[in-house]
Symmetry: C2
């Protein structure tokens, strides 16, 4: 039991009292890095307060970096200061083992992105993934391509290559893009090890520690991680999931304008198509506004197009890159959502001078992207296998999305909302205020259901009552069963909560 | 003709006068970025001074970053200040095209590592490369491996993988290392996209802008480039190529100790086996001293082992990692010199906590290394193809090294020295003082001979009279012919120079 003493009669809100007392316990050393703290419901029970009180306190401590919830494992203290490194005096013998932890360039003690990809126990239904399911991979076609390019151009593939990218792949991509209405010269295209590397290269090329980036909130955690490790400040711009609020879903462009007006922003990072995690699409009018505002403030726009080809219904919208007349947009893309995540092959497109700089940065980062995968993908595209595979997968995903929506419609309690994506691989659920998706996950995991709590996607102001449900990797039957189980848990929680509110009301009345 | 006016009677050395006047011409705008300046011999002729005078002035301006020599193309101005970015006022319309150059995070205007890998004209003899020649690649064996792993485990290869590395490759490498006397656990091994990425990850994990790294001088330019772009200070520690000076070749360990004593050094980067570019090997006693000194000052050691398996004669020495009892060494390695540079597959080995941090950094850098190449290389190693290929290539390289040494012995003028590497892919030539290898290259190129001037390998105090000759990529006959031509050019230069000294002496006498 933690030594916590809340005063219900104080004018200080209970959650603030709790937050401050927990923080003091960390600073005094009574709670230490790695200590597990009780689940919010458990602590609420011990303290006789509502669970929302505890969840709010935890959310604030988490955004301060003092605690961190791990999917399905509970919440842990993570904020101990790092030891200061000071070299020993000159005359001190051999020195012994290296104090590695004291030498790290930053103080994050986190688990990295792995928490978004937890191990899936056998038999579990995992809504965690937003990646293509491997049972549909056209392995045989791919193998034939690898075989043929190695026979035909093996020596060239295996020899040191060009930082730009493997020429046949570049040619294939330029043609693919031309077919989609985007005319790009070879000098405007750089092959990367996937989108993750493209973001890392952009970060190295354009940002210094202390610079600011405007970023959707929530956003792709891989982008948040790169900016954090480069000590770049992220300025969170809200993503609307409820069209009633701003008239559209997607990035809140008014909020963006305010951020750019009030800050010296060096880059804007945005995913207009099937934004991960919310699945929203930014309307064309808003895309034009984003470009106008970014041009006005001379802020380059990094457009993440990784999900754009996974449109499952409705009409495709022009990318920012297509709408961009001034060369202000760097568009990043990859094969990992439309084909094979295990090959690290992506690309970026932009103004020639920007791409040339990214090429130089890539050169000193890893010389060039692996050529075996580049050559094989070039062949895979050339033979039309990629187009055919995308067509096949869209049918699979559409059916799975519909199954998920049907199940949600049928079983979700009224007070819960979710997005209705026209593509991508996941949708976004908002539970009633005060609910904690991390807590829900603990129970769901016991029933063999996994998902990713929404808070992992926020760079600021995490909303504990949100969660991401990936539909692409789960078959229709499992979706129906998994969503029903999840909704049952949620409804049970809702009932308990209603009882709890009554109890708390009674408790408060008794205090008067 | 440049407006230069040297005063031979001044007490200020001629080269200092020349340096300062050239610098002033850049600052006044009379010389601008991209302008080509005369070759040192040409300018020396115009000014009536010795070529060494011009070469010395150029060397200093180059180390200031104001001029840069490009292999075979001449010397150019590269020091114009970058425009300052200032956002436009609020009410200013669309903004127009992005001023990309003003947005780059650093101000280097260089060509990157490409200058070390110039295009080779048809028929030319290129001593530029220090990489395996592709005509010996066992493409057919490799193709069969790719084929079989895709048949056997295609879905797993093409699906998103683990940041650690593909498990069968990790297993194969651990076994390989065990066979070499190094017992390492899986947690101490991280797969990377080659050595270049390993250095980049180390840099991100352990260094902040302004930190200092001790680095061999000369050194691998890829390492210099990474540290420069991370705004890390490199402290140059000399590499001895003449055993008469310090009793051994390789890193000057006394100089290292002085650097560590006088500076707060965060990392030591060292290539003890077949150091690139000099080809030197650090003796065991000096390896032990390096470890002792590094442990004493608690400075982690990054050991680049990329050439170590390419030992062509003499006995193998234990790596720093094998001698390391305290876990202070991170050993980086790759398949690019022993097998295929076009596949970006390497690894690093170190203390568990250091590797765990590098894994986190890699995760946000590119998620994981391409799995097709990892899986194929695992199979290539498992079947014994790698060991067989290394054995075959060592014979090829040994014969080429001997051919080069024979030709040098036969044709080089007495005043020139070169290293006698026991392995690796290149040797290091020191021309008589005052000679400029960049100038020699201009003439050599006209005769169809290419090499890399030594100054590209220096982070500080470039020695213009050095050059690297790669022997691995050129057959014996071409080596004999190329070296003879190069020596002829050099001898012709020497004769001219002797005449020049007489002329200058006469000129100076005439002034008195």
């Amino acid at each position: 039991m933690l030594p916590l003493h809340l005063q219900p009669e104080s004018h200080i809100p209970l959650y603030v009292q709790l937050r401050d007392q927990l923080r003091a316990l960390v600073h005094s050393g009574e709670l230490r890095t790695g200590d597990r703290i009780p689940a919010s419901r458990e602590l609420a029970g011990q303290l006789g307060v509502h669970r929302t009180t505890v969840a709010n306190a935890y959310a604030e401590l988490e955004s301060e970096g003092l605690i961190r919830g791990h999917v399905g494992r509970g919440t842990f203290i993570c904020g101990a200061p790092v030891k200061q490194f000071s070299p020993p005096p000159r005359s001190n013998g051999n020195g012994g083992a290296m104090p590695w932890e004291a030498l790290f360039a930053d103080e994050r003690g986190e688990e990295g992105l792995s928490r978004l990809m937890p191990d899936v126990p056998p038999g579990a239904i995992a809504f965690t993934a937003a990646r293509p399911p491997d049972e549909f991979f056209p392995v045989e076609e791919f193998r034939r391509c690898a075989n043929d390019v190695l026979r035909r151009e093996g020596r060239r593939i295996l020899q040191l290559g060009s930082t730009d990218g493997y020429e046949p792949l570049k040619r294939g991509l330029l043609e693919l893009l031309r077919g989609e209405g985007l005319n790009v010269r070879a000098e405007q295209l750089l092959i990367t090890d996937g989108c993750q590397q493209a973001i890392d290269l952009v970060c190295k090329a354009f940002l210094r520690p202390g610079d600011s980036v405007a970023l959707e909130n929530p956003a792709y955690p891989g982008a948040i991680a790169i900016f954090a490790s480069a000590r770049v400040r992220t300025l969170a711009v809200g993503v609307e999931t409820d069209p009633a609020r701003t008239g559209h879903v997607g990035l809140n462009v008014d909020a963006l304008e305010t951020v750019l007006l009030q800050n010296r922003v060096k880059l804007l990072f945005i995913t207009p198509d099937f934004h991960n995690p919310t699945g929203t699409v930014l309307p064309v009018a808003e895309r034009r506004r984003v470009l106008e505002i970014a041009a006005h403030y001379q802020v380059p726009v990094i457009e993440d197009g990784i999900y754009a080809r996974v449109r499952l219904r409705g009409n495709a919208l022009p990318s920012l890159k297509r709408l961009d007349n001034s060369g202000n947009v760097i568009h990043i893309d990859s094969i990992s959502k439309i084909a094979f995540p295990g090959l690290r092959v992506g690309w970026c497109i932009g103004a020639e001078s920007a791409i040339e700089r990214l090429r130089l940065v890539k050169q000193s980062t890893d010389l060039h992207t692996d050529q075996l995968s580049q050559a094989t993908m070039a062949e895979f595209i050339r033979r039309g296998y990629l187009a055919r595979h995308i067509g096949k997968m869209k049918k699979v995903y559409r059916s799975r999305l519909e199954a998920m929506e049907e199940a949600l419609e049928k079983h979700m309690p009224d007070s819960t909302t979710w997005t209705h994506p026209e593509g991508g691989m996941s949708l976004w659920v908002t539970l009633p205020p005060g609910f904690d998706a991390g807590e829900l996950l603990i129970h769901a995991r016991e029933r063999g259901i996994l998902f990713v709590p929404g808070r992992h996607f926020y760079s600021q102001h995490p909303q504990p009552n949100t969660l991401r449900l990936g539909f692409a990797g789960v078959d229709e039957k499992s979706i129906a069963r998994g969503i029903e189980t999840l909704c049952d848990l949620l409804k049970a929680e809702l009932r308990k909560r209603q009882r709890g509110v009554r109890d708390e009301f009674h408790a408060r009345v008794a205090l008067i």
